[in-house]
Structure formats: C-alpha cells, structure tokens
Symmetry: C2
Subunit: 336 residues, 2 copies
Amino acid sequence: MPMARESSRAGIADVARLAGVSLSTVSRAMNGNPTVDPALAQRVQAAAAELGYTANPVARSLVLGRTQTVAVVIPDLENPTFQAILRGLSRAATADGYHVLVADSREDLDEEHALARTTRLRTDGVILCAPRMAEQDLAQLLPSLSPAVVINRGPQGTAPTVGADYGAGMRDIVDHLTSLGHRRLVYLAGATRSVTHRARQQAIAAAISRTAGLEVEELTAGVDIDSGTAAADRVLASGATAVIAYNDLVAMGLLSAVTARGIDVPGALSITGFDDIPFAAYTSPPLTTDAVPAVEIGAAAWAAMHAQLTGVAPRSTHTMTPTLVVRGSTAPPSAT
Amino acid sequence: MPMARESSRAGIADVARLAGVSLSTVSRAMNGNPTVDPALAQRVQAAAAELGYTANPVARSLVLGRTQTVAVVIPDLENPTFQAILRGLSRAATADGYHVLVADSREDLDEEHALARTTRLRTDGVILCAPRMAEQDLAQLLPSLSPAVVINRGPQGTAPTVGADYGAGMRDIVDHLTSLGHRRLVYLAGATRSVTHRARQQAIAAAISRTAGLEVEELTAGVDIDSGTAAADRVLASGATAVIAYNDLVAMGLLSAVTARGIDVPGALSITGFDDIPFAAYTSPPLTTDAVPAVEIGAAAWAAMHAQLTGVAPRSTHTMTPTLVVRGSTAPPSAT
DNA sequence: CTGTTAGCGCGTTCAC
DNA sequence: GTGAACGCGCTAACAG
C-alpha cells in the first residue's frame, strides 16, 4: 500500500513528471546546459518553479565530488583577529558561491589536527589557521588536506600560505620606540611556540644588534586580556620604559592594570600592541599598534583556495605588510 | 586497460576486500552494530585502521538524510554580540558532534532569506538570527526551514526562540539613570525595525508613565561605532543629561566623540550601552551597560536545535535576563 | 536534441 | 550472524 506522499521537498522526478520530460532533461535544464531545446527548458523551469524545486545539494555533492563548501579551522573564535580573518574569508567565499564551515579548535593542538581532517571530508578544502602547530605535524597533515591554505606561517611545500609579515611589523614598532628615545624595553611574549612569535623575536634581535644601547627583556605572558593584566607587576618591576605587548589584547589588559596602579601611560610607560583590532583606537590612551590587515588576509586566503579549486595555480605565498599606527600610548621616556 | 589505482581515499570496498567480508559487514562493524561477530568486527576495524578508512560523510548524508551540520545565519559577523552567539553555539554543537556552517547576511534582508533557505538544504536545521526581518516574512520562511531556532525575537508558532529580555534590560538602565537623578534622557535608537528596538521602546514608555518628570527623546543612530560618533552633535544639542545608546558599539562611538569635544563623561553626560561586549570594561570611563549573555544564548540555541534533531520537544521560548553592570560612564547629573 | 542506463559511496532491508 | 540487492537524488556517459 503506497504511503501518502510525504510533504517533503519536491525531487527531480516530480519536476520531470510535471514537465513531461525525463530526469536528465530536467537536470540539464536546471544546470543551464545549452543543448536543451529552449522551449523545453522553459517548461522545465516553469515546472521547477511551480514545485519550488531545487536540486538536492547533498546528492549533487556525492555525484560531482564537490560540496561547494570549505572549512576554516581557527584556534579561537574569541580572538578579534581570527574573527576578522573569518569575516573576510566568509564574505569572499560567499561572493563566489561557496559556503563556509567553521571549526573552533579552542587552542587544542590535537583537536586542531582532528578537526582539519574530519571537516575536510565534508568540504572541498580547508583553510588552516594553526599558529602553534609544530612544523613537522603540519607538514605531515597538509597532504591529506589538499587543497589547503595555511594562514600566518612560513612557506609550506604543499600548500599556499597567506599571512602578515610580523617581523617587519615588529621592526617598525621597535624603531618607533627607539626613535622616541627608549632603550630599555620589555617584550611581553604570547604564544611562545607560535611562528609569529619567532618572527617577532628575530626582529627584536636584529634591532638590538642595530641599535646602540638597546636592551629588550622578554617576559612571558599570553594572548588575551587577562594575561596582560597579570603581567603588570612584572612589567613594572623590570624598570623598562616601554613595553611591546604580544597583541592588542595583552596591551589592553596591561594598560588597564598599570593605569589602575596610578601609572601614567604614556608618560611613565609606553605600551604598544599588535594587530590593530577594532577597539584599539578606543582605549585610553588609544593604542599605538601595528595594523595587520586581517580581513584582507581572510580574503586572500579564499582567493588562494578558490584558485586551487578552479585549477589555477595560486601564489605559493602571499605576505601582507602590516602598518604602524601611532596613537596615544607611546611617547618619549620621562626624563628621570 | 585498468587505470592505476588512484591515490584517493580508501572506500568501504577496499576495507571489505582487505578484511575478506562483504560491504554490509564493514558498514555494520564501523557503525558498532552489535549483531556482528566480535572477531569479524575486530578484523574489519583493523583493516579500516590500516587503510585509514573513514566513511564518506557525503554519502552517509545522502542515505541517512542527515548531514550532522547546522547552519547559523547571522546579520553581521563584525558585531561582537553575534560573534559571541556564534562562539557559544559552535562550541556546544561541536561537543555534540555537529558541524556549523556560518552565513553572514551582511544586514541584507533578501540575502538573509535566501541564505537561510539554501543553507538549510545542506544542513539539518538552521539557527536564524534575523532581528530586522518582518514578522510576516519570518512566519512564512520558518516552515521551510524546520527544524529551526530563532534568536532574539518574540515567540514563534513554528520554531523555538532563544533570546534575552531586552525590555527588562532597558528598564534596569532607565531606572538606574533616574535613580541617579536624571530626568532628561536621549535614547539613541539603532535598528529601528528590529524586534529588540521595540522591546526597548516599550520599556522606555513604561518608565515614562511610571516616573514623574521623566522625558526621553528618541534620536536615530545606528548599530555600530561610527553611528555613535555621528550622533554626538545631536546628542549634545538635545540638552539631555544622560544618553541610552542602542548598544555598546554606539555608546563607544559616542563616548569617544563627546570626549574629543571636551565633554566630561560621566560628569557632564552619562552614557549607557547594551550587551556588555568584551571591550565595554576597557573604555575610559568603563561603560555602564546591560550584560546580555550572548555565549549562553548561543549554547541555548544549540540545545533547542539539538532537542529537535533528536526528537525531543525543545522549550518553545527560552528567555535570559540580562544584568545591569554599573561602571564608570554614569553618575548623577551635574547640578547646573 | 532527448531518453535510458549506470553509477557516486554508503546504509539497510531482505533472504540465507 | 552474514551477504546480495536495492535505493538515497542526482549527473554523465551512451544511445537513439
């Protein structure tokens, strides 16, 4: 006994029946195949419209071998920089008719690995934002992800890379501080196992060997506001006249904590951030920082993915140069 | 002439061959079907492990009729509140083994509609965050989305709703301001077609009829920092002693602009925000605002979706109460 | 130009 | 307890 027709979506067979044609003709008409008689195509389109028919994307994905979806693996959805990358990526992908699957690895290295692999199975490629993953793990993971795009890491053999030049940014920051007259600095390190941390370290080392009398003490903090707050006492005890925070969040936490202790910024202490998150301009004083074009990085990452998806060779590495943004949190050291 | 075996992923047939069993047995063993001989199951697992086999999720989706993925439609990925909702949702969904597709409608009403429908086709349900969509459009859209969850809107007939009580929050804010002695307020309205705007308006109206001598002028602004900045002159011209900004972003823009004009906040003007975004505590002065538990809303939205997905009846409406957070941007009016 | 046939990779009835 | 056959909904070869 036939079941009553379910009220579920119309399938290609329903359209074929209504239009009085075969399944293939419906398929062809719906996909704009030019070998279909215009009159028939019209009839099919009309029938499809009447039934509200749209081809089932899952079935198409199975037969076509592509899902029109890419995965983005991100270490922390709470970080404004990753949010901006996601935003730029999402909008660019949408413009090209692709969907975006987000996966927040919550800074968990194992999770990162697993998420990348599992999401890859239901997508056409993955954009991997994994700053702390060991280079070796990454190299081993990437082939199974292909096509992939790597964000904010050095050149990879198997996947294009998009990112900012953190070394150049750090150089600008140090130069800015030294040209103001600072000689005793603190670098508040964040993710010490990250690639961008090492780029910063190298830039600092280069600046030291270039600038007479420059001393930079490295203190370990973290990557968020709280870690900046927590570092305040150590920073003040260091005797430095300026501090280079790992990023804007750390800088904000530090700024807030030292201000609460009655320290004048930038009068008694200069502070710099990194990234130029949207709120960096609204602290008090507004933060001097280095602007990383995160939205553009996201868009470029999509471009690199889209190129691979369409069989075009992407740029193997796309590096954007951040820009120093001098605001109110830096000034010459007080003449003690 | 047979093609050389492609280096693509192992399929269920490869596992069956290696284990010396049929396709069905592999399928059953991989899905933990208890009717499989333990010894065989072992062999299959071993073969699968050796080949690195994982069932193709797309094929499973087609046959099972579920994708283990949900879509989240959001008006603006740049807004910290939506980011927090997404974060809470994403983490909760991941914990239950689901994936999340994000769609940024960029405040475009047509796009919102289209995105919801198309993403629904490749997912098992959609969480819709569409504060400005007309009630009628929504009612018409929802059935085709089922199962769906609606965020920050009044009760819907066909889908559970999760959100915050913006009216209660606004009441707290107005009461806070009046108890400080303010009588001439400005409400800087944002998305005037949004549901939460109307809830705020009603709360304000109620406060006016309850509080002797209270006047509230409504000015139209927007929902972002720039619109707060742009409203500064109008706010100052109004003669109000306190302003209720639509959200924290507007409040921050306004705060920044009036401070730049030499106005003392809260001495000469009190300002309140709404949402309590992560940076509200770091403005100068820190923002008095009403904390909307956005991450929890995201988690609750997932819970409502998960319930529907597992055949459990979800709470038809889940309303969270925001909390007033008094910080430094409000004070008694100056005794002019 | 159109219809018929054969899969895409898997889960799941049905017989054995 | 296990295998063979069918079908999820669609597209792409192949005939006609």
